[in-house]
């Protein structure tokens, strides 16, 4: 963490990390150049506007004549229209560039994520990755468009005003430059303090959100332990801390605002003093003095804005850094160039070159260590599974049952040895080819929001409604769909929210069945469901695994007992293998495991017995 921070700082020092996102900005370079031009024109017009006032004062008021009034008005309207048109164009193009750069960044990061290895997803929580794709990108787009615009406008406004002032009266203008530099310095100092405070406030805010989260999700425990008053006190302490920090932050902000206002008044006083003397001596006309006065007041805000923008850039460089880090993360597991050449990649598969998958699976002297682990989970492990065989993997939670499955699916690759499918190394063919032929049913069935049909078509894109209903019927899930008013069009809600766990499982079975995989991997759910569903699930599993090479991370007795081969896993190692009968006779690890599981499941089967 520390090292990545300092790395971020180093990069931030180099143009706020902007070089990293240049490729995404490049398509918009013409628009950006256009915006820069518009911004400069706009600032020049803004800088020139007080000159109208000067003319009005010097000519109309000073010389008591209205002779050029019509020209004055016409010119003013023309300049105003120009300004309005310029502002309209620059803001709308700027906005467009912002949202389009955002879109491109989101597209790129999302697409990139689809190729990253599972180890990345295991190491980074969903919320973290989500923030990279959604919030970091939007900050970058804002920087590219608006912050650049701000810098251009403010910068050229300040320059233009200084130039005009220098043209009108050099000594006074030079005095103004001094004031400007001073105020920029003061602003920069304040801004640094404010950024620091903002961070503390944000952190404290996260603490309070955490407190609320805990109070809400832990409300039952709070009541049962009778600690509500204590929770109150600890929460009040946190909010008090938040209040103090916020007030502290506000103090810096208020002091900043006040001193900037004071500085622009200082500039005004300076101009009034020196300009007054010049006027008294007849060197400077009243209109010119008035222009100086308005410049003195007007130049402070852009300077403050400039300082603010630059300090924002420092904050945003962290977002840029995180984004480029994501984009620079290489998928740990990827197809070799030859494989891509022949089989295509995830987004452009060359299906014409794809072979069928027959269904033999072999582990050949495999040694495996998880990328974030140190222990050898598998060591010189060999196993041959013939097409159509059913393998059950059993063991305690966290014993490492998923390891074999992860290797077959090539979510991870062995450190030594090979995993062979139909006698060929999995690495010889593309990931997409492999995944298209393997069916994987997860322990916690995951459905996407959308209709049931859309979810089932996830298994096979071109499946007809008949095929879908057939698959549903085979896993006894047709009843679920028929009971719904809109049938296959019924929405399942986010994560399949509107369905029960058992229903979700059955639907995910149907989804796997539709993809008709040569190899099936099934991670049985441990959660208890009602008796009827339980029976349906058991039946569905036997339908699914029939005549298919299958690996089942098993919790159900029937699945275990009937399988062709049982692998018992303990503490990350395969300790026993054989059929149920063989292992029971051995009276070893499997035996204890089995008898204990049997005990636990017994209670759930009471109701079943009653029904029979």
């Amino acid at each position: 963490m520390q090292s990545s921070n300092s790395k971020a700082d180093r990069k931030a020092a180099r143009f706020f990390g902007i070089p990293g996102i240049l490729p995404y900005v490049k398509p918009y370079r013409k628009k950006l150049i256009f915006i820069i031009c518009l911004g400069m024109i706009s600032s020049c017009i803004d800088a020139a506007t007080p000159l109208f006032n000067r003319y009005a004062l010097n000519h109309f008021v000073g010389e008591r004549t209205l002779d050029t009034l019509a020209v004055f008005i016409t010119l003013y309207v023309i300049v105003l229209s120009l300004q309005v048109a310029d502002n309209f164009l620059s803001t709308s193009i700027c906005g467009q560039v912002e949202v389009e750069v955002n879109r491109d960044l989101r597209d790129a990061s999302f697409t990139h994520l689809q190729n990253l290895s599972f180890s990345y997803f295991n190491q980074n929580p969903v919320g973290y990755i989500h923030a990279r794709v959604m919030s970091d990108t939007s900050k970058i787009g804002e920087t590219v468009a608006w912050h650049m615009m701000d810098i251009v406008w403010c910068g050229s406004y300040v320059v233009a005003v200084l130039v005009v002032m220098l043209c009108i009266h050099r000594p006074l203008a030079l005095a103004m430059v001094g004031v400007v530099l001073l105020s920029a310095l003061v602003s920069a100092l304040f801004q640094r303090a404010m950024v620091r405070y903002e961070r503390i406030v944000r952190e404290q805010n996260a603490v309070i959100t955490g407190d609320f989260n805990e109070g809400i999700t832990g409300s039952l425990t709070v009541k049962l332990l009778g600690i509500a008053a204590k929770m109150d006190r600890s929460f009040f302490r946190d909010t008090e801390k938040m209040r103090r920090t916020s007030v502290g932050s506000a103090r810096v902000g208020a002091f900043f605002t006040a001193s900037v206002a004071l500085m622009s008044q200082t500039a005004l006083a300076l101009v009034l003093w020196q300009g007054g003397i010049l006027n008294r001596e007849g060197v400077m006309m009243i209109g010119t003095l008035s222009v100086f006065l308005s410049y003195a007041l007007g130049i402070m805000e852009p300077i403050r804005q400039l300082v603010r923008t630059f300090s924002r850039l420092t904050a945003i460089s962290a977002s840029i850094e995180r984004f480029t880090d994501l984009m620079n993360t290489e998928p740990g597991i990827r197809d070799s160039e030859e494989v891509v050449e022949r089989y295509g990649d995830s987004f452009n598969p060359k299906k014409e070159n794809w072979e069928e998958l027959y269904g033999d699976v072999e582990f050949e002297d495999v040694t495996f260590i998880y990328p974030d682990g140190e222990e050898k989970v598998l060591e010189h492990f060999s196993l041959k599974v013939k097409r159509g065989q059913n393998v059950a993997i059993v063991g305690e939670t966290g014993a490492g049952k998923s390891t074999l499955v992860n290797l077959i699916c090539r979510f991870y690759e062995p450190v030594e040895g090979r995993v062979l499918i139909d006698g060929r190394d999995v690495r010889e063919r593309s990931l997409l080819w492999l995944h298209s032929h393997i069916g994987y049913v997860l322990q916690t069935p995951y459905l996407f929001s959308g209709s049931i049909r859309e979810n089932l078509k996830y298994g096979r894109e071109n499946a007809t409604d008949e095929e879908i209903m057939q698959a549903l019927a085979m896993v006894s899930a047709d009843g679920i769909v028929k009971a719904m008013e809109q049938g296959l069009d019924s929405e399942v809600g986010e994560g399949g929210m509107s369905l029960s766990t058992g229903e979700k499982q059955l639907i995910s079975f149907a989804r796997a069945l539709l993809s008709d995989p040569a190899i099936l991997i099934l991670d049985e759910a441990t959660s208890s469901v009602d008796t009827v569903t339980e029976q349906k699930i058991q039946k569905a599993i036997s339908v699914l695994t029939k005549d298919r090479t299958s690996f089942v991370i098993a919790h159900r007795l029937s699945t275990i007992v009937d399988s062709d081969l049982i692998l018992a896993v303990s503490e990350g190692r395969i300790v026993e293998q054989g059929t149920h009968r063989e292992l029971m006779q051995r009276k070893g690890y499997y035996y204890t495991l089995y008898t204990r599981q049997f005990e636990q499941l017994a209670v759930d089967s009471i109701d079943k017995n009653k029904n029979i």
Binding site: T91, I216, L224, M242, A250, L442, N609
Partner: protein, 641 residues
């Protein structure tokens, strides 16, 4: 502080929107008023600045004293007269600075009062919400989603805060500024003031209607963003499904479509916004021009002094920006209403009713259910039907039964998480109806470990001690704080405080000793969101230890050994038994074990078999295995090997 809030709870009042604002601003109203007053004063000083410039131009730099009031002239005389000031203009510059300094100080004070008030208000609101939320009954939690609740406590609170602290004060400030500058401007020239002010309703009105109209498009964009965001969330959560079915391409296309729709909406929004900005630029530009031209004409006709003209133009420039903001602020006001209603919905839900406790118990902690029936609110069928049993004080009781047989409902009723309606039987604790017990008193007597225990973020030690009186705990925290402050990282390795006896005993009895030894930081290991992830069994055991620290006289294990293996289950039960045997006869705690496993309950003094909300069998293990029934069936199944 907490006592005050608790008293508030008992009032349990219902708030209206304005009532909520009044409550929130209870302790900060003065600050807000001060803030507004300071702003008003600051505005006056702001407006005085151009006045000085005006008189400087008119009276010092030239001699246009036409229409200048007498007191100004006398003021100038008192300052040394025109001649002196003309000779030493720096005096005027100093005056400008002085006025500016006053304005700056006042503005600073105003902002400080404002933000102090706002922060005090937010604290009040958050505290109130938190205290309310953790006291809401469990029935209420059944009907509300966590995510939505957190939203209400965080972003809705922020919205209401910015409504009161920013929007309302901005509104008052801008109106004050308009009024004050009106007075100053009228003082200079009425006709010009009328021209300048004529534009204001147009600018404000246009801005208001635009923001109201565009509000819908903003909402639409929010919805679209929500869709994109949800899609990313789903894709990341279900990434294994995506890979397993090889559907990366499909996902990518779906995302591109959604992202495109969202972007298109924003491009449109941006164009609308630019058009709005451009149009209001035009209107303000025309306003400035009108003022300028009219001023020039008046000057030429000799009806206005040069200085007055300059001052008027400055006032006008001061007004334009705040007025342009005004329309947006007014249109934003309506947004706060929605957030306020969402907060009110929480605050106006009634919390667990307070019940007066009355006296001690004559019968120790005997628990007795008499013809208890219960149906959950909104449920179709009853969870308990005519349940009666008595658990003598100090007994060990097992409760066994299938899913949905009503085991947990018994616990929820006994701990007053749900209230038993009148006429649905009676629950007695220590011979006294539960309805006559104070809730905290009940929960101090009856401790429960649930199947999926909740641990608080903090260290294992903090979790263990959470139910203890605070003084002890705080002392410890401070000590630890010192240690980690002084030695920094070294505190990690040098195990902080040794275990106290009570901790040691609780940890040993919950069979956690070995687990703690495996953590490098031992009992100071952080758990929960920002700490080590504990397994289900470890959590259960830690919760058991937490309960043991509390020394309740009734201990309920609600399926809380389900995630530990059979041998650990055994160890924990043995140690509980050992603990009970060391206590004197009359002080033994009552232990209620709710379980699936026969072995967990078989040694109990009494076993209650639940089935579909009724007590189906009751007796000791020996008696029950002889009876034909569910117990016998479970027993034969579990011992089949």
């Amino acid at each position: 502080m907490s006592a005050k809030v608790t008293k508030d709870q008992s009032r349990s009042r219902t708030y209206t929107r304005s009532g909520l604002v009044m409550y929130m601003t209870e302790h900060c109203r003065i600050l807000f008023l001060l803030s507004v007053a300071f702003t008003g004063l600051a505005s006056v000083f702001d407006l005085v600045g151009p006045k000085i410039v005006e008189y400087t131009v008119d009276l010092i730099l030239s001699d246009e004293d036409r229409g200048v009031s007498l007191w100004v002239l006398s003021l100038i005389d008192r300052l040394g007269g025109r001649e002196l000031l003309r000779a030493e203009i720096w005096r005027i510059a100093l005056m400008v600075l002085g006025v500016a300094l006053c304005a700056a100080v006042l503005r600073y004070l105003s902002q400080m009062c404002g933000s102090r008030g706002a922060e005090r208000m937010v604290k009040q609101m958050r505290d109130r919400l938190f205290a309310h939320i953790i006291r809401l009954p469990e029935t209420w939690y059944g009907q509300n989603h966590t995510g939505d609740l957190i939203q209400r406590c965080t972003s809705d609170v922020d919205t209401v805060k910015s409504f009161v602290a920013d929007q309302l004060t901005t509104l008052i400030r801008v109106i004050l500024l308009i009024l004050l500058s009106c007075i100053f401007m009228v003082g200079i020239d009425l006709r010009m003031t009328l021209v300048a002010m004529a534009f204001l309703p147009v600018i404000v009105g246009y801005s208001f209607f635009f923001h109201v109209k565009i509000g819908e498009t903003f909402l639409q964009a929010d919805t679209e963003e929500g869709k994109v965001s949800a899609m990313v969330q789903e894709n990341l959560t279900g990434i294994r499904v995506v890979r397993a079915f090889g559907r990366e391409m499909y996902e990518k296309e779906r995302f591109l479509t959604k992202n495109k729709a969202y972007t298109a909406l924003w491009v449109r929004l941006m164009r609308l916004l630019s058009a709005f900005w451009a149009t209001s630029d035009l209107i303000s530009g025309l306003q400035v021009m009108s003022v300028m031209v009219l001023g020039a004409v008046l000057c030429v006709h000799g009806e206005m002094n040069t200085g007055s003209y300059i001052a008027f133009v400055s006032y006008n420039a001061m007004l334009i920006w705040p007025v342009r903001e005004l329309g947006r602020v007014i249109s934003d006001l309506s947004k706060a209403g929605v957030s306020m209603d969402r907060i009110l919905a929480v605050l106006n839900s009634s919390i667990e009713s307070e019940r007066p406790g009355s006296g001690g118990s004559a019968l120790g902690n005997e628990i007795s259910f008499r013809n208890v029936s219960f149906r959950y609110p909104g449920a179709a069928s009853a969870a308990l039907r005519d349940v009666s049993f008595t658990i003598p004080a100090g007994a060990t009781v097992g409760i066994i039964g299938g899913t949905g047989s009503g085991k947990t409902t018994l616990v929820r009723l006994l701990t007053a998480l749900y209230d038993l309606p009148e006429d649905s039987g009676e629950i007695l604790l220590g011979g006294r109806s539960l309805r006559d017990w104070d809730r905290d008193e009940i929960r101090n007597t009856v401790s429960v470990v649930t199947q999926e225990p909740f641990l608080f973020s903090g260290t294992i030690r903090e979790n263990l001690r959470i139910a203890l009186p605070e003084e002890e705990k705080e002392e410890r925290i401070e000590k630890n704080g010192e240690i980690s402050d002084k030695s920094g990282n070294a505190a990690d390795s040098s195990k902080a405080d040794p275990l106290s006896e009570a901790e040691e005993v609780a940890i040993r009895r919950a069979a956690l000793t070995g687990t703690l030894e495996r953590f490098t930081r031992g009992i100071e290991t952080p758990v929960g969101e920002r700490g080590v992830t504990l397994s289900g069994g470890q959590k259960q055991r830690l919760a058991i230890a937490r309960m043991l620290m509390k020394h309740g006289s009734v201990m309920i294990f609600d399926d809380s050994l389900s995630a530990v293996d059979a041998s650990t289950d055994r160890i924990i039960r043995d140690r509980l038994e050992e603990m009970r045997s060391t206590e004197a006869e009359g002080e033994r705690p009552t232990v209620i074990m709710i379980a699936h496993r026969i072995t967990t309950v078989m040694n109990a003094d009494l076993i209650i078999v639940m089935d579909h909300g009724t007590v189906s069998q009751m007796g000791t293990h020996e008696e029950l295995i002889k009876q034909e029934g569910i117990y016998q069936k479970i027993f034969s199944l579990q011992t089949a090997e």
